[in-house]
Symmetry: C2
Subunit: 466 residues, 2 copies
């Protein structure tokens, strides 16, 4: 039996334990964007620190002004001859949203047989606790069989990914020496389909912005003043409704400045990919408005967009109330492509709103930071090694794909650390990430962990050959 087979067998043999531990982690409500999540964040960080240390990756919890990061590094003198690999994951999760929309408790995961899979439900089940668990389990098994890691290893686990990674840029800047690596594997992305792996080489940028429109008056009786006084819900609705024209183009002045057309060669690639039968994992696009002139895949991966994520104003029920509200608030996000700057988009949007504000009314904005889009090279040797490893495990080639999602740290890793980034993940659209009944299955978890083992092997082969 080859050493590779031994490691894979170790993964298989230890799998019940690996699943049990992962469910422990998912049961911790590490919600980063709500104050009540603080305790869960701390418990998850501590749990991960202990796990990493136990497999020979001495770990520490690094505090930030927000939520802490967990940083682990393989011990022993660095061996200059072999590459340094960094693995990134995040242990924080999205809020639950309306608990009534879940049919499974969001923090009580259990494995159940369903549709031919062994599935478990929970917030963070897919995004991203199973993801980080794939490489931790692979590292454990490799070390167990080989007595050493396949290279110098850094593991970096973030606790603020779901709230915009506010502390990460400063952390990377401050700890650039400790994070120094040849390649950063970012494990928080989608596969292509349940049977086919993918490497994400094109990511959108992201800007969150909150806008609160206020009338000149506090709440009023709508029977008395509805006919004549300003209604912030009506004003905000009008602004939101006007953000797109009839062709689905964003109407914000300057929004498309600097945006280049998707190259024909890329469109050609994507046209091929779009032939995949269940491209959207069961999501029904009926009633959606795609920007005119672009296919759905082109709009998702290659065109900048504005989304309304939330709106609140006036009476929230349960009963009726004849109120003319004093204010209304919307939450928006902008998904950027190459050529767009987060700060400029934010300013353009604010100008757009102010210009449409009736006299006497006021507006407040809240939001900061944001990330630019990233297009990664398709010619890196680490990407090639990863593609080979994925193909060995899944029996089908890894698709080089784009995504509408954002991973801001990719840009930061490239810029500050000068590291190559390879974005791999085993998420599927049907995992319902960010939504009620988020789920994952042990079948993908196993193949995910095995994929990393094969990628380690390919990297060693490449290093040996190099």
């Amino acid at each position: 039996m080859s050493r590779m087979d031994e490691v894979l067998r170790d993964i298989d043999g230890n799998f019940d334990t690996a699943v049990r531990k992962l469910l422990e982690l998912i049961a911790i409500p590490s919600i980063s964007s709500e104050p009540e999540g603080r305790d869960g964040i701390e418990r998850a960080a501590s749990w991960l620190k202990d796990e990493l240390s136990s497999i020979g990756l001495p770990a520490e919890i690094v505090p930030t002004s927000g939520h802490p990061l967990v940083l682990a590094r393989s011990s022993g003198a660095p061996n200059g001859a072999r590459p340094k690999l960094l693995f990134y994951g995040h242990y924080d999760v999205q809020p639950v949203g309306d608990p009534g929309q879940w049919t499974h408790a969001p923090f009580e995961p259990r494995v159940r047989e369903e549709e031919g899979l062994h599935r478990f439900y929970g917030r963070g089940a897919s995004d991203s606790k199973s993801q980080l668990w794939t490489f931790i389990e692979a590292l454990r098994a490799w070390k167990h069989i080989h007595g050493a890691f396949p290279a110098d290893i850094i593991v970096l686990l973030e606790g603020e990914e779901e709230c915009g990674s506010p502390s990460l840029p400063k952390f990377i800047e401050k700890h650039r020496d400790r994070l120094d690596c040849d390649v950063a594997f970012i494990c928080d992305a989608e596969m292509w389909s349940p049977a086919q792996p993918a490497i994400t080489t094109q990511l959108k940028g992201l800007v969150h912005e909150r806008v609160k429109v206020s009338a000149p008056n506090p709440d009023l009786h709508s029977g008395h003043y509805g006919a004549v006084a300003a209604n912030p819900i009506r004003i905000l609705s009008t602004i939101l409704a006007g953000l797109h024209d009839e062709e689905g183009r964003v109407t914000i002045d300057g929004f498309y400045d600097g945006v280049e057309e998707i190259p024909n060669v890329v469109r050609e690639q994507w046209r091929e990919l779009a032939k995949e039968p269940d491209l959207y994992g069961g999501v029904d696009l009926t009633g959606g408005i795609t920007e005119a002139g672009y296919s759905a895949l082109e709009a998702m991966w290659g065109r900048p967009t504005v989304d309304i994520n939330g709106i609140t104003g006036g009476n929230q029920g349960p009963g009726e109330r004849s109120v003319l509200p004093g204010s209304a608030t919307a939450r928006l996000s902008f998904r950027l492509v190459a050529g767009q700057s987060p700060e400029k988009i934010r300013q353009q949007f604010q100008r757009h709103v102010r210009f449409r504000l009736p006299p006497g009314c006021s507006v407040e904005f809240e939001g900061s930071g944001g990330s630019s889009a990233v297009v990664l090279s398709q010619h890196s040797p680490f990407l090639a090694a990863a593609a080979r490893g994925l193909q060995e495990e899944w029996g089908r080639p890894a698709i080089l794909r784009g995504t509408g999602g954002a991973i801001p740290l990719v840009q930061q890793f490239s810029d500050v650390l000068g590291a190559e980034c390879v974005v791999i993940g085993f998420i599927l659209p049907s995992d319902a990430i960010h939504a009620p009944d988020e789920r994952y299955d042990t079948e993908r978890l196993l193949k995910g962990a095995r994929s990393w083992v094969r990628i380690f092997g390919e990297i060693q082969n490449h290093a040996a050959a190099g």
Copy 2:
């Protein structure tokens, strides 16, 4: 000293007690549209039953399928020779809304000197607990001095006014014999100004409707699907933004069917009234859109309108969440004028929304009942007596006014009981009814109670003369 003066002096002398008791009533959180209000409703009804009984108006609590009514009638054989007077008030209150917007606790009223008045704050302070307390205190004093009421008296206090009076029509129908009266005084309306009383002779109708738009999918990750899948907030915003055209006219097909122009003579009257310096009680109309071709007063009193009272969808915070929500909900109310039917308006609105719904999306509506507009005769002898009584107390003539508010029972009293209705109240725009920091002052409470005593006197004079 005349008997009239004696009664007025009794009111003045008992005033501290009257205020203390009223504050007791305001302290009871009798919110009718929220399940948590049930206990407050029951306590308020019981408190009022005891108070009415104690002044010689044997009262009972009449259950309904919703909240109970309190019904009291003067005892003794009815005297066919004198008129039967019914007094209507409501003891339920609006929800508090966001408690953070109150600077005074909503159910802990205390009298404080402020701006030359003795003011007290609380939900229901003005709408409508002080209102019903004016006639109860007047009846108490009259009986105390005269040993008898000025006429056969019926007092009817409702507990569902703020949630659309769902049980009242059936109640009136069922108890028409016990409610039989010559005139119904509806005490739940505005004065003209702090110094000038008013009688409301024109009321709008009211229809509440909730609309929930759902996409074909549950919540999705907005980064992945925002560019292509239906967004219910965007759809709902577009529908709401399109409810009015650029001239402020409602775009719902058929909405103005049957609506007659405001008669020139009425417009002339209202033009005079609109010269009042502080017509809107400090409310700033800047940024509001009044229907083109109408003054603000004409739009408020004489034109049908659509108001958005609330909207909810997607992420409600506090943190950001990249969610493409599965649904979004808006709460609307329609204020009707003569010639419009609540049921027809509801149907027209629903058709309007369905017609604008993108394919694949669905809509649910919730709402029922509603009321028509009412225009009362200005030539009733009871109205004339009331106008004289008000003028005696306030030293200025009572304005015959319109209102944007609705009092559905006026129509029901006219239709079922064949009674004349006279709508009088001592509310001011600056009372912040339905809003945070609702307030009232003891000065108006006193003059309100004294007004009723004078109106009783005028009715007796009229009856004696007739």
